[in-house]
Amino acid sequence: MRPLALPLCLALTALVACGRDRAGATGGGLAYYESYDPRSLDPALSTDVPTGEMVTCLFDGLTQFDADGRLLPGVADRWTVERGGLRYVFHLRPGVKFHDGRPVTPADVRASFLRVLDPATTGGRAWPLLPIAGAQDYASRRASDVWGIQPLGDTAVAIELTEPLAVFPKFLAMAVAAIVPAPTAPDFGQNPVGSGPWKFVRWQHDDFLVFGRNPAYWGGAPQADTLVVRIIPEPLTQAAEFDAGRLSVVEVPFGETARWEREHPDLLVRKPGLRAVYVAMNVRRGALQDVRVRQAINYAVNVPEILRTVWSGRGVVARGAIPPALPGGDTTRRGYGYDPARARQLLSEAGYPKGLDLELWRTATNVSLARVAQAVQADLEKVGIRVTIVDREAASMREAARSGKADLALLDWWADYPDAENFLYPLFFSGNAGIGGNYSFYHDPETDSLLVRARRTLDDSARVALYRRIDERVYRGAPWLYLWFPVELWAHRPDVRGWDLALIFTGQRWTAVRRTP
């Protein structure tokens, strides 16, 4: 047996060597999870949801969102809008300190924004800061400074914009605009220092992160001592860990909706998400150039039925692009409704009495979304639209849709910030066609001018009225097959108190959450 002796010894050694237990297992603290490892803990690299959620725990912005998506003061305790929305002055809250004890100063604000804009950072998502005057030039190395960011003494920062932008204070609540202590060390993304409610303790990649309570947090120290964030890719494993009592909260897996509603009704929390599921119809391609064909598609698909059967009923049928949780959202608007006869009639009027052929692109790895594609295909078949489903993984599919190669693309859009603007300007402004988010390549001069006007409108109720009007107008133009706004369904452990499902991922700070003994 000698040949096996060496590998066996090695194996046994390895088994014994891994006998140390993991740091920061749940104990009395909170345990949350992400589906994949955050890109970094550096706010400048926050382009994905896990990074955004972690940055929200560790850092502060000038402004911030609460769990219901309202804009609140952050490190800036108040701000004024001057010169018709061209200039903002943010007054810093006195006494806010980074975790290393240094005070947060206007110079830190300036330096934080500059490092996001610096092309060498290669974050890729500096757009929330690009409306600042001089930011474009700095980002393309045509200027050595951003003149639109001016510290005013030790207590305030003035920010000048290139044009009025009503949602700008919301941009500053996004993770990418979080304030970091400047200058930062080269490994800042691995060992971050912020001023947020939680201090960084440890990050074992693809495994877990550990945060400790910041007792000096200006907004009130967290109730719990630790927050462990596990990285668990598989939804059923997430649910098992929750069932075993090792996660404080969990998103209810899709196929499990009915069981959880039966077994844990008291633990469930549901909220309409800031998210839209839709099929982008490329209005530049073939038959889809005709609005009647696009409307016919909206009549042909039985959306409530697909929502019920394929999506476990976890959503609200969309009659527009603005989710009902946001001001401006309207789900009572007269919708297309399921009417195959009307669809066939519109198709003949458009010159397609014998139907037509279209390609529907989808991401096969997103299982729940992929099933929707089959249901849509079946419904369209009934009115004579022969749909070929094209399966690609996410990166290839996005590239095809962005370059205009896809007739139909099944997509979902997640909010970056809670505002109707986020569901209209990127998605339907002609200047954002393709890479900007407008996968339908929708172009309508009237919509464009209304969108620009709304962005400059500082009065919130007037702005919301404009968005409602734009949404209605686009809806009639049907650049989407409007599907639904998902309702998020989560569960918390019975001993977890004070937890609320956040409408926007940057609205969860975990400060009020605790576990009862």
């Binding site: 140390r20 994949y36 890729g124 495994d207 075993a244 990166a395 996005r398």
Partner: protein
């Protein structure tokens, strides 16, 4: 002889480098588009391309990469900006731990099952062992993994469902990963043992009055080892390069998940670095397997 074998791996690895590099440059999906997310503008995209040197001609990019590899530098991930070599060095011990645990489990139970089954072919034990191995190869890993989690982590609460840490964390993923090897090894060992047991020298051993234990355990087993080592070697090679399904189900922080994430995000240097790393591991494992052949069977020698 070892030196020559090692030298021969260099062209293999260079070939792997060239092929991966070329393939990565023709697959659809732009790394920059993955970085900028759903909402971007062309100026940002152009800046990123320049910053990541994606606009350089391919030979220049390759030369740049090769120069790094020669100095032991696999570059930095486009997405995380962390050094890829460090990322891999962090994850490989986890993958190795799981691979070894799975192999120990598979070798012990698979070989035992096989030897026991071969001792009385057609007997109750044999039939039971072969039924077990049938089930082992037929059950999907994903399903078995989740079933083990349901039973041991949720219902009984004996073991953690996922993550890495102490020995307890290793058991379920090792069982899941090793299951297929157990089944395969059992069948392999049984077959090899039956072959050997019917050969002349075993008859001689029995004729000269050796105990059955000595015949089966010493003489037959050692000679049946060659095909078993082959299977073990191949499996170890596979396991050491990351086991995607098992790592995903059990949230095990190994190399497999790292590569998958890199592919999904079109993180070219991370994919390239991982593939090179895996090739090195595979080549070394194969080399080790060959050396073990020589140990097991004195007739095999390398010149």
């Amino acid at each position: 002889m070892l030196g020559r074998r090692l030298a021969l791996t260099v062209p293999t690895l260079f070939g792997v480098l060239v092929v991966t590099f070329l393939l990565l440059n023709v697959i659809p999906g732009d790394p920059v588009l993955e970085m900028v997310g759903e909402r971007a503008d062309s100026a940002t995209i152009a800046r990123l391309r320049a910053e990541l040197r994606l606009d350089d001609p391919l030979p220049v990019q390759f030369g740049h990469y090769l120069w790094g590899v020669v100095r032991g530098d696999l570059g930095r991930s486009y997405i995380t900006r962390r050094p890829i070599a460090r990322d891999l060095a962090e994850r490989f011990p986890k993958t190795a731990q799981l691979a070894l645990a799975a192999m120990v489990f598979a070798a012990l139970s698979g070989i035992t099952l096989g030897v026991v089954a071969a001792a009385r072919p057609g007997g109750v034990v044999d039939r039971f062992a072969m039924l077990l191995s049938y089930l082992g190869v037929s059950f999907p890993v994903y399903w078995v993994g989740l079933l083990l989690i349901m039973l041991f982590a949720v219902t009984l609460r004996w073991l953690p469902a996922s993550g890495s840490g102490g020995l307890a964390y290793l058991i379920l993923p090792a069982l899941t990963l090793g299951m297929r090897s157990v089944a395969f090894l059992a069948r392999m060992t049984r077959g090899a043992m039956l072959d050997v047991l019917s050969s002349d020298f075993i008859r001689t051993a029995r004729a000269k009055g050796l105990s059955e234990l000595a015949v089966v355990g010493r003489h037959a087993f050692r000679n049946a080892l060659i095909p078993v080592i082959t299977v073990l070697g191949l499996d170890v090679g596979n396991y050491l390069t990351g086991s995607l399904l098992t790592e995903t189900i059990f949230a095990w922080p190994g190399v497999g998940r790292y590569v998958l994430a890199a592919i999904e995000r079109r993180d070219l240097p991370a994919i390239q670095g991982s593939i090179l790393f895996m090739s090195v591991v595979f080549v070394l494992v194969n080399l080790l397997t060959d050396l073990l052949y020589a140990k097991a069977d004195p007739r095999i020698a390398y010149h």
